[in-house]
Amino acid sequence: MRNNPLSSIAIHSVLILYSLLALFPLVLIAINSFKSKKGIFRDPMALPLGDLYSSKGYQSVLANGDFPLYFGNSLIVTLISLVFILLLGAMAAHALTEFRFKGNGLLGLYLILGIMVPIRLGTVALLELFVKLGLTNTLTALVLVYTAQGLPIAIFIFTEFLKSVSGEIKDSARIDGLSEYRIFFEVVLPLIRPVIATVAVFSMIPIWNDLWFPLILSPGEGTRTVTLGIQQFIGQYTVNWSAVLAALSVAIMPVLVMYVIFSKQLIRGITAGAVKG
């Protein structure tokens, strides 16, 4: 598109308008996290100035000295699950698209069945399984479930993109004498880096924000995640909204950082990696 100033103004107006729509609720969350509950409802739009200002929310989060631990747990679980989902998912998708073998199509379909029913329904069987394995109240249990939960969609997307990767480059690597393993790790993985970033962004959000499985599988003090930790502020009749908003304002930071990292990868991958045919 040619850069005439008029259309440039129009474009930025649209973008700024949508930014406002996206940001307005977030700004509300941020400013209200610095108010007491009464302050929030007295005037939700007001800036937390003067007697409206209250750091009680943050204080009650900090007063609970375990929050750094919860953050650590959430990070560990999210990152390790992501590594598994991306690596194992890409490996499986690679095998499904690259090799001809009996049952290939069926296995491909089998591997994406999991998209169709929320794994949450299998909670009881999962819990019984982890009790048998002695893995309740461990982060390992969460990592395993999230990996299993994230794999189908990852395999689905990876397969879609791998189909369009040129076969010749893999053949070329074979002639260069690379083993099938090295072809995957040294040729295919770098090629699909942008897709990996996309799937990473896609997969990390439900893991980071999940409440259910931490609640069932690892509710123990040492293995609580942030979302589970926040639940202590949500009661039957009284909800400590200041604390909830404070905790969630902080909780968005790690995923935001992860998103920025991944999306940089995505853009760099796309613009630098593509070889036109």
């Binding site: 010749e168 480059i169 053949d171 070329s172 002639i175 004498g177 770098p190 593509a274 070889v275 036109k276």
Partner: protein, 355 residues
């Protein structure tokens, strides 16, 4: 540097047989071109030689050694792909040296070989660039360079020029020819372009529907096509075919006898219809020619010209004309054919030998 032998090779994908019992051999240092329309099996054959596809039956030998169960890297081959297949995340130097480094060759030797190859192909100034920063021709040269550094016994080219524009294609064709003369190595070159085949090949293999139609030097194929398919495929513009009835040993077209059917053939087969093949260059426009037709299209290429002539029975023939004379559309022209250069094909497409 080696010979290549393909013995009774068959290839099936599932239940579909795409290569039927095929045998051929390539001599040491020969540049053999596989040519044929798309889907004829030429690429599949190449991929089987490379080890990228498995044989269903038969065997392949390189330098007398059976290789068809070996992985690609152990066969002593190198391959250049249509899409170049460069590693996008490595620069030119990295791409050139990748296979050697992977094979564990000492660094110094890798550098020496890479530099030598870069020298041959004039890649010197581009060594630090990534594939995305190269033009199509440059990428193609890197792809060839990558094959050269491996000093293979057999080079395999899979339609390497079809992604390039016409001018560059001619240029690269010459470069490959020069390369072959310089390296004197055995090469197999797959293309669907008969011009490339004619200009490059020591010998050509014509494929159709998974079968070898004919093997021979370009001139052999041009002069003595084994069948109507090869005759039509080799040569540009393509050979003209005129349907004729056989009456009393003569091929009759438009109630004129074009040629006599050799008597040696009529003994074992009783032809009633034949196809007469005439190359455009074997038609002579002459004012007193035996046949006549009207000019439909007049193509002037500068050094030569072609007339598309509509005959009385609505068949069209293409004739080469004198570049200096001038013709109008719709004009009636008369012509003769060079009898000695006529080809004759039976109804099953097989050439009828000239006695």
């Amino acid at each position: 540097m080696a010979t290549l032998d393909i013995n009774n090779v068959v290839k099936q994908f599932g239940k579909v047989e795409v290569i039927h019992d095929t045998s051929l051999s390539v001599k040491d240092g020969e540049l053999m071109v596989f040519v044929g329309p798309s889907g004829c099996g030429k690429s599949t054959m190449l991929r089987m030689i490379a080890g990228l596809e498995e044989l269903t039956a038969g065997e392949i030998k390189i330098g007398g050694k059976k290789v068809d169960r070996l992985p690609p890297a152990k066969r002593g081959i190198a391959m250049v792909f249509q899409s170049y297949a460069l590693y996008p995340h490595k620069d030119v130097r990295g791409n050139l040296g990748f296979a050697l480094r992977h094979a564990g060759m000492p660094k110094a030797e890798v550098t020496q070989r890479v530099d030598a190859a870069a020298d041959i192909l004039g890649l010197g100034p581009l060594m630090e660039r990534r594939p995305s920063e190269l033009s199509g021709g440059q990428r193609q040269r890197v792809a060839i360079g990558r094959a050269i550094v491996r000093e293979p016994e057999v080079f395999l080219f899979d339609e390497p020029l079809s992604n390039l524009d016409a001018a560059l294609r001619v240029h690269m064709r010459v470069e490959i020819l020069k390369l072959h003369q310089r390296l004197k190595s055995t090469m197999i070159y797959v293309t669907h372009d008969q011009v490339e085949a004619m200009t490059l090949a020591d010998r050509i293999v014509v494929f159709r529907d998974g079968c070898v139609e004919q093997i021979g030097t370009p001139l052999e194929l041009y002069r003595n096509p084994a069948n109507k398919f090869v005759a039509g495929f080799i040569g540009s513009p393509a050979m003209n075919f005129i349907d004729a009835d056989v009456i009393n040993g003569n091929a009759i077209h438009a109630s004129e006898a074009i040629a006599s059917v050799p008597s040696s053939s009529t003994k074992d087969a009783n032809y009633t219809k034949v196809s007469i093949g005439i190359r455009p260059e074997d038609i002579q426009i002459q004012a007193n020619g035996k046949w006549s037709g009207t000019v439909e299209v007049y193509e002037h290429l500068g050094g030569e010209a072609y007339l598309h002539v509509l005959l009385v029975d609505k068949q069209t023939v293409v004739a080469r004309a004198d570049a200096d004379s001038h013709y109008r559309i719709g004009e009636t022209v008369r012509f003769n054919v060079v009898q000695s250069k006529l080809h004759m094909f039976a109804e099953d497409g097989k050439a009828i030998p000239k006695t």
